[in-house]
Amino acid sequence: MKKRVLLIGSFNKARSLATSLIKKGYLVTAINNNYQDCLILAEIDSLTVINGDGTKPFILDEANAQNADIAIALSQRDDDNLIICELCKKKFNVKKTVAIINDPKKTEFFHKMGVDSVVCSTSAITGIIEQQAFMDEIAISIPIGEGHISIAEVPITQTSPAVGKKLWEINLPKEVIVGCILRHEHNMIPRGDTRILAGDILVLISSDKQETVAIKELTGR
C-alpha cells in the first residue's frame, strides 16, 4: 500500500518535497493557507491540495489526516508547527510527525511534546555554510543523531602533521575515532599501528564539539 504523506504550510518547501515524494511513489496531500499558492501547487500531477489553515482541526480533517502515515509541518512559525504535529498525533493518530523549527534551542522541547522528528532549518543551514566555507579542509561532513555526531571525510596532504605517523602516535581527542581510511580506492579499517600516508582520506566519526580539534590535529589547519 502506498504511504500517505501530509505536507502542511510553506509554498517552496511543499512544492519541491511534493514533487520528489510523488516521484518516489507516495500519496501526497498539501495544505496551504494562500489561495494563489494553492493554485500553483495544484498544477503538480496527482498532488491533492487543500486551501486552509493547517493548525485548524477541521482543515486537517478535510485533508484526511486520520489516514496519513507521515505529517510534515513546514510552516514559518515554530508554534504553528508544534500545534500541527500535536493535532496530527493526538487527534488524528498520525504515526509519524515531522516539524521544521527555526529556534535550535527548542529541539528538545519539541521531542518532549511528542514530535517524532525535529528538523532545525537554522542549524542545518549554518552547518552547510560552514562546510562550504571550509571546503578544502573537509570534503564532506554529515551530521547524524540530532547533529551531535558527525561523519567527516578528511583529506591528508603532504604538509599535514599526521603524515607518516601511526594512528596511536596521533593525539586525537577522546570522542573521535578514525573509522576508515580510503587509500587509492582501497578501503581499509585502520588499527592503532596503521601508518597514515599523504593522499589518504580519513573517515572520522566524532562528536560535534571535538571534530574541529581532531581535524586540526590531523591536517594542521
Binding site: P57, R77, D79, L87, K91, K105
Partner: protein
Amino acid sequence: MEIFKNNKKDRDYTIIIGCGRLGTGLADSLSDRGGNVLVIDNDKDAFRKLPPSYGGLTLIGDATDIDVLHEAQIKNANAVVCVTNNDNTNIMIAQIAKELFKIEHVIARLYDPERECVYREFGIATICPAVLSANEIRKLLGNAKKEDEVE
C-alpha cells in the same frame, strides 16, 4: 508573615505574556492587589496601553524564546498567563511553562476551542472568550425570558 516572604511557594509572582487589552487590564488589577507582576511583549509600543499607575515590571522580548523566559525569572513564578492574540503562540508558551519549567498555574486564552485535545492532558487552564460570551448571552436571554413570564 515576613518569614514566608522568601519561600518560593508563598511568593506571589505572575508573568503575563501579551500586552493587549486583556493583558494590560489583568496586569494592572493584579499589581493593584499587591502581587508581583511582569508583562512580556515583543512590541515596546504595546506597553503604552498600561495605565500610568501600573506598578509592575515590563520586559520586551519574544516569550517563545526560552532565553527570554529565563530573563523573566520564570522559575520563580507561580503563575503564567498567556494572552497574546495568537492561539498557537499561547499554547506553545503554556506548554513550555508547564513542561519545561513546571509552573503550577498556567492559563491560556484561546479564541478557538477546537484545539482542546492538544492542551487538555497538560493541565493547562484555558479561557475561551467565545464560549464565555455564549454562556453569558444565554444567561441574559434566560433572564429576559423569565422577566417576560413574570410580566
